[in-house]
Amino acid sequence: MTTFDEAVAPPAAGRAHVIRTDEEAVETAARLAAEFAPGAAERDARRLLPRPQLDRLSDSGLLAITVPREYGGADVRADTLAEVYRLLAEADPNIAQIPQSHVVYLRVLAQQGDARQREYFFGEALAGRRFGNAQSEAGTRHVQDYRTRLVPDGNGGGYRLTGEKHYCTGALFAHWVPVLAQLDVPGEGDRLHVAYVPRGAPGLKVVDDWSGMGQRTTASGTVRLQDVWVPAERVVPHHLTFTGPQIHGSYAQLLHTAIDVGIAGGALREAAEFVRTKSRPWFESGVSTAAEDPLLVQRFGELAIAERSARALLAEAGRAVEVARHTLTEEATAAASIAVATAKAVADRACVEISSALFEVSGTRSSLEGLNLHRHWRNARTHTLHDPVRWKVQHIGRYTLNGTPPPRHGVI
């Protein structure tokens, strides 16, 4: 086996630190968040891609905290992972979203990879290497209709991969690009697999054509695959994930939820800062500083309630996913999906509301383009549409009313 050698470049700072505990993971995230926050507005305004920050993440060991203990990782609890991503997102939700698929595709390996694949790729993660994603396709019937195919190359040792993927968050910054593709499994027909392709593989091209109004520096662009050769050792039978109770969906969604809760918290804190330091009191308020205005205080109270609700539900959902991860019963995995869906519904509304209300409490001066305070709303509005709340509400309703478990797939 030589195929694993043609590796991509290691992260800038060399071998990464290895985080050992949940507490260390949260402390590290808090420290990096404090470091990342001050530049967030400028990175968004000038669309400066956060490559240096991602290298800091790599070096810090945060990208390996989900690696199982037997492979040398911290295997942190799901609620810890959620808190890590929430903290990063509070500082800069772009930086938090980029490695979301990194975590997801490491989980695919943990679940469906064989011993050698796990050994190798977890080693990559521990070394600080990053995994992106190449899953969504355009022009298909819905978001889970895939046309990219793995075709046997005839020698029996590998496949050829061809297709075009969009919204490939993380791919631009990745060392490895996991690609979702259909493989014709004899006797079963098309089955979904993940092919782990090195970022520099011939035929793989990442195009930075992302133009979302928010999450601008995630560079969630296009990945083109033209006859890319993939050795069999890098292909994982992802379709098996959904044959029994699973937490693939709830685990992935938990991170998206954490990002939205983080956006809510970041907007709330920036609003408080602005009101305390820059806003003028309204002339009818009868108080000498804006921060004393009883009606403004009231609004802040409502916004804080929204953010705290989202945060409490995120923690609850993290715990539910953690339980489900260890028991993997039908009941526990359904409960986890519903808990995450609930948290996401509340978080999505909270981050959109708070990032819009930021202006209401801050007053006229806050709308200056140069302050770029609308990045919070643009980020919130863009990221919350990733998968729609309206269907989460529906799954929650069915579960509550009829006890129906949600469907098994990657977005609940």
Partner: protein, 407 residues
């Protein structure tokens, strides 16, 4: 495109609208022209010369002007509707037109009959576009009394539309007094320097930047409402707040309607159904249907209140000498309610449409965020919580809102 390229029918060959319905239809035509490149113009944020030209050529600027001088002879409720219609396509231009009506009407609000008859005749005949540099909350412009002439000096933080206007309503305080004076000056007066520093997240084409006023000279006889250097107060003078606020209400509602219609068109043509519903088209998804049903009901309701309150306000304009403090105060409370509702619904619609248009609609190219940016920016003008407070204080304590010069 640049703004110079705005094209439309040859308005000069068209008959002037006569009824409110015809004026609203005319505004609709203007809106359709503005809509065609609203996203690009918003992005460019160029000075809206061509847009103002369009407002003039289409006749909209003279809607409220006296018919005998070539004006449309319409009343405020129609003007509000026209503002709303234009704002559907372009919130900035809706605001510019609304402010124009207000500055033009300022002569009647504070001026003597002789003054406002003169201004209205001139404005209608020449299709003047009005701007303003007014902020009576601050004493930022000082007026020197030189006998027959007043000399304005100072700075205003906002001068909406002034740069692209023919005439500007200027406001200042007479040196050593607390007397505010309003006067109309040519916008090309060399004493006016526009700083082009309006760079906000929304309403980007309103040219609301700051202006410096250096030795702008105005004859005493043009000081609105002054007779022998003394202001002649009337209760009608205090109608500024309700009238201005109704202009705001109507361009908020227009922006909301624009957002909703644009989103509906997008959903019909571009939104993909979500994987769970088993629906072939997004327009069949019950929750997408519900979102639009919900938003439309709320918007129609706010529109109805705006219309009803505008009709209530008409009486004041038709009976300027019968306005009492009580009637005026109760009207302001009703206007406050319209403001509350319009603000809430506009923010909600502009923010929620994305839930029905979907992830792909957030691409910058679509520019669907402009509605939210526009309404978010202008609704900061005055905190809506204080409008709810006005209503509550009236209901609980039977206290009327204090008339102020600030809106």
């Amino acid at each position: 495109m640049t703004t110079a390229e705005i094209s439309g029918p040859d308005w000069s060959t068209r008959e002037t609208p006569r009824t409110p319905e015809e004026w609203i239809a005319r505004a609709g035509e203007v809106a359709a022209i503005l809509a065609s490149d609203a996203v690009e113009r918003d992005r460019a944020a160029a000075t809206p010369y061509a847009e103002v030209r369009l407002l003039k050529d289409s006749g909209l600027v003279t809607l409220l002007g006296p018919a005998e001088h070539g004006g449309g002879g319409q009343n405020w409720p129609t003007a509000y509707r026209v503002v709303r219609e234009v704002a559907k396509a372009d919130g900035s231009i809706g605001q510019l037109l609304g402010y124009h009506y207000l500055w033009n009407w300022a002569a009647r609000l504070v001026g003597t009959r002789e003054q406002w008859e003169h201004v209205e005749a001139e404005a209608a005949r020449n299709r003047w576009f009005f701007g303003g540099a007014v902020n009576p909350r601050d004493d930022d412009v000082v007026i020197r009394d030189e006998g027959d002439t007043l000399v304005f000096n100072g700075r205003k933080s906002f001068s909406t539309g002034s740069k692209v206007s023919d005439v500007t309503v200027l406001e200042g305080v007479l040196e050593g007094t607390d007397k505010h004076v309003f006067a109309i000056v040519p916008s090309g007066d060399p004493g006016l320097t526009f700083h082009d520093d309006w760079d906000n997240i929304g309403q980007r084409l309103t040219e609301s930047g700051s202006v410096t006023i250096s030795d702008v000279r105005v004859p005493w006889r043009d000081a609105a409402g002054y007779v022998d250097k003394e202001f002649q107060p009337r209760v009608y003078n205090t109608l500024n707040v309700p009238t201005i606020q109704l202009v705001f209400v109507n361009f908020y509602l227009g922006i909301a309607r624009g957002a909703l219609e644009t989103a509906i068109a997008y959903t019909r043509s571009r939104t993909r159904p979500w994987l769970h519903g088993g629906h072939e088209r997004a327009v069949d998804e019950p929750y997408i249907i519900d979102i639009y049903g919900d938003l439309s009901a709320a918007l129609w309701s706010a529109e109805a209140l705006a219309d009803q309150v505008a009709e209530e306000g008409l009486w004041f304009h038709e009976h300027p000498d019968e306005v009492t403090e009580r009637l005026r105060g109760e009207h302001e409370v009703r206007v406050a309610a319209a403001k509350v509702q319009a603000t809430e619904v506009a923010l909600e619609v502009a923010g929620r449409i994305f839930e029905a248009t979907g992830a792909r609609s957030t691409t910058s190219r679509e520019g669907l965020d402009r509605f939210w940016r526009n309404v978010r920016t202008h609704t900061l003008h005055d905190p809506v919580a204080y409008k709810r407070r006005e209503i509550g204080v009236y209901l609980l304590q039977d206290k009327l809102p204090e008339p102020t010069w600030y809106s």
